[in-house]
Symmetry: C2
Subunit: 189 residues, 2 copies
DNA sequence: TGCATTTCTTGATTTTTGTCAAGAGCAAGC
DNA sequence: GCTTGCTCTTGACAAAAATCAAGAAATGCA
């Protein structure tokens, strides 16, 4: 069972036979550090799965980069507006390291639905789950200080702080790099 | 065409015949000011549509109320974890004014799928749309100050500030009531 | 290896936001 | 109409976080 199949199994709970069918539609792809999987404003009909490496999703706001999310092994990377609604992409998606992805285009993606009858239902459940995760993220910003958000992320995934430029983590946490630096010092002391 | 049908048409783009079928599964319900549609920890298999009135979704964090969202006419109110995943509810949902809702339970909700073959697909698209709206909300917290968030909401829906206790709007915007009060004074001056 | 560039940290300072406390304004109910 | 609570505002102060500037550390590249 490949990593992709393992994650699809975890996320969607489909059986081995279905897994094989689904994963057969995905094609391997590599990104070199710095390569873009997607750029704002472009059109994209690709969905990617991160097999190895680290990918950053960000957008320019007032000439500043704002990092929305950082995806590591096991995450899907996609611009939903573009993939689902055929609109121009809202996010830049860039490799922070060399990456191995599995990708699928929307044409092949639609074929999954023909092979797995309940696929739309599974998709719905997956997106609903993602929605609840985002709800939690909003709540964090409504109820937690920068320090609490830092501590939570650090406790949840401390490797990230060795693998990803801190300025991007700071942005993703909604603080300046200077503030993150000071919080790190404070927590370490 | 009822308000409910009008909104379902707007959100889901189904035709008149389908609309009538869908809306026939919804039942009217009234809430008095202060009544709860849902309480944290309970189980709920109800989805509501706000016909008139104002509804607040909030949760207690460290003994403090945090308002996640305020729904007015045309919004659906639901606890997704509970409605979709049969988990205990994460949110309190309470009427801020007397309200008229249309509600549907999950048993009847499933019947929609039997009547409208592409219903699951429409659901998926609707939830995906909600996801992108939440993405924007996260971005706002990553890139905007309290003042900017206030101005944006005020410009988007200034009636809200006459209809809803300001303390709840402050919480929903991620600031204290005192800060909101000062920002209002500043913007008015 | 060593230079150049980028990233990170640190300090000083300012701005923003939160906290605490008191009073003003409003609204619901008697 | 008059209490009685709420809610909102205001002020004084404290804490949190941003900004600006400089230097240290790490990284990439020749």
């Amino acid at each position: 069972m490949t990593e992709l199949e393992k994650y699809i199994h975890t996320y969607f709970g489909v059986n081995k036979e279905e897994l094989t069918k689904i994963s057969s539609f995905f094609k391997p792809m590599t990104l070199r550090k710095g390569d873009y999987f997607l750029k704002t404003g472009r059109h994209s009909d690709r969905l990617g799965f991160v097999q190895t490496g680290i990918v950053r999703e960000f957008v320019f706001i007032d000439e500043k980069e704002v990092t929305k999310w950082i995806s590591t092994k096991g995450y899907f990377v996609v611009d939903l507006s573009s993939f689902v609604f055929q609109q121009s992409a809202r996010w830049n998606i860039q490799a922070l390291t060399d990456c191995e992805l599995y990708i699928i285009d929307s044409k092949d993606y639609q074929k999954i639905g023909q092979v797995i009858p309940r696929w739309t239902e599974l998709e719905k459940l997956f997106i609903a789950k993602c929605f609840t995760v985002l709800e939690d993220r909003v709540l964090q910003h409504l109820s937690m200080t920068a320090e609490e958000r830092y501590n939570q992320l650090f406790n949840f995934n401390r490797e990230l702080f060795n693998q990803v430029p801190l300025q991007y983590l700071a942005s993703m946490l909604g603080m300046t790099p200077e503030t993150l630096s000071r919080l790190r010092k404070k927590a370490a002391g």
